[in-house]
């Protein structure tokens, strides 16, 4: 087991994602609760970011978290909007400093008691589904351990959001999340191939791959290898 797998399994268990019959909403709440309790934060929100880049709050914990999100929608600027638009993480460790990127948002966030804001996109290559937004009532960058946990919490959220529309997974989201999480090149290559085969977005292709692997009781990298070696296709 790799260091990544160990961290992922620990966080999966802490957010309650391994409970039988767990639903996506429980996991979203669990991720936010985990972040606030373990990562030295004052708030956390999980945002869904759709293609026309409108945003929805999937879950939030801590008083300022929802407020910070609303602020960004209202003002049209902020770390979450930047992360969502670019697919890159945005770490604003000191919103009170003068050189920040969002003059209006920064002032309003500081007034609301948020002095640092970190937005991690739920991203796999070109597939972007939302952001995990972390708020802190004091300035300063996340330490390396907290950042690692936050990145993995974002990975888990990404997997759960990706499978939201997938009926074929049924009620075994816990089983799927336990089986997911192998970020291998072959999976990304297969995603590209399947997106052409299905004439679908990369997000749909990745979700189809995950669902197919899960239903076959195989690892996603094994199924992906079959696709890349052209033993299997997704053509209808």
């Amino acid at each position: 087991m790799t260091a990544y797998d160990e961290r992922r399994n620990r966080i999966l268990s802490e957010v309650g994602a391994l409970e039988p019959g767990v639903e996506a909403g429980d996991i979203f709440d669990g991720v936010c609760r985990f972040a606030v309790e373990h990562l030295d934060l004052s708030g956390c929100a999980l945002m869904l970011c759709t293609q026309d880049s409108t945003l929805d709050v999937l879950a939030s914990v801590g008083a300022p978290a929802g407020q910070v999100a609303e602020l960004q929608f209202g003002l049209g600027e902020g770390p979450c909007l930047d992360a969502c638009g670019s697919g890159r993480p945005v770490f604003a460790a000191d919103l009170a400093s003068l050189d920040v990127r969002w003059p209006v948002f920064s002032g309003a966030a500081c007034d609301a008691g948020v002095l640092a804001e970190f937005s991690i996109p739920l991203q796999v290559g070109t597939v972007g589904l939302g952001t995990l937004d972390l708020s802190r009532d004091q300035p300063g960058m996340l330490d390396a351990e907290h950042l690692a946990d936050a990145l993995v919490a974002a990975d888990i959220s990404m997997d759960a959001v990706l499978m939201l529309q997938r009926a074929e997974v049924g009620s075994d989201l816990a089983g799927l999340l336990r089986a997911t999480g192998t970020d291998r090149f072959v999976v990304h290559q297969a995603t590209g191939m399947v997106s052409v085969q299905l004439d679908a977005s990369a997000a749909d292709a990745l979700a189809s791959l995950r669902a197919a692997a899960f239903l076959a009781g195989r690892s996603i990298s094994d199924v992906a290898a079959d696709i890349v070696e052209r033993k299997v296709t997704f053509y209808a």
């Binding site: 260091a3 990544y4 993480p89 770490f91 070109t126 990145l151 090149f185 590209g192 191939m193 997106s195």
Partner: protein
């Protein structure tokens, strides 16, 4: 040796020249890998970066064969890169020594015909960003001179990677590392799209992608993004670049 000195001088100038608007981290590290192959006379070079989650990811290698990429991916668990990264110092080993140090990784390396391997950390003022990994398939061990050159190249590259100099270096570094990792994922997705459109292997798809980027003077990552999101007609590749 004079040739090597001249080459080295050119390489260091190039590695330091990263303060440009259209900096592409994958291309930069591919160049580093290619330079390492030339200067150090190795068979293969690869650059792995920290994923910020306790693992390492391959960003660039001098060769893009799938079997080779998998060898690098194995080092997420054990191998010279992992050791250089965690211990923050270079490591070199023969195939025999490798079998003792990395029982899972070494057989896979032997399968590729590698006799000697080494890795040196990419470090920047206390931050370890990843490691430069070199493989030889002949019976020439890595000398202390080789290691010194590899080490120097890795150091300059690490400095070049963090383009902006800033007080809040840690957050910038974290942003850039995560962005770099995603760039590589985009390239893999683009390989798949192209392979499927053109009915070629993913290895060939990468060659097509790189050739097209060069011919049209575009950044590899940018072109890959257009291909992966199917914003370019992938069939153009076959018509114009074969």
């Amino acid at each position: 040796m004079q040739d090597r000195e001249r080459l080295l001088a050119q390489v260091f100038v190039r590695l330091a020249d990263t303060l440009v608007d259209d900096f592409d981290v994958v291309e930069f590290l591919q160049r580093l890998a290619a330079d390492a192959v030339e200067i150090l006379g190795v068979a293969t070079a690869g650059v792995m970066l920290s994923d910020g989650r306790g693992g390492l990811r391959l960003l660039a290698s001098s060769e893009e064969r799938m079997r080779l990429l998998e060898l690098f991916e194995l080092q997420n668990q054990e191998g010279p890169c992992m050791d250089a990264f965690h211990n923050r110092r270079p490591v070199a080993a023969s195939a025999d020594e490798g079998r003792r140090l990395w029982p899972q990784f070494a057989p896979a390396a032997a399968e590729q015909g590698f006799q000697f391997m080494c890795a040196t950390p990419l470090q920047l003022r206390g931050n370890t960003l990843g490691a430069l990994n070199l493989f030889r398939n002949d019976d020439t061990p890595f000398t202390s001179n080789d290691m010194a050159v590899a080490n120097a190249m890795a150091k300059v590259a690490a400095t070049g990677l963090l383009q902006q100099r800033s007080l809040n270096e840690r957050q910038l570094l974290a942003e850039q590392l995560q962005t770099a990792l995603q760039s590589r994922v985009v390239i893999e997705q683009a390989k798949g799209v192209l392979a499927e459109y053109l009915d070629i292997s993913v290895d060939e798809a990468f060659q097509q992608l790189r050739r097209r980027a060069r011919n049209t003077n575009r950044k590899l990552t940018e072109l890959a993004r257009d291909v992966a999101t199917r914003n370019v007609n992938a069939r153009d590749f076959q018509l114009t670049d074969r």
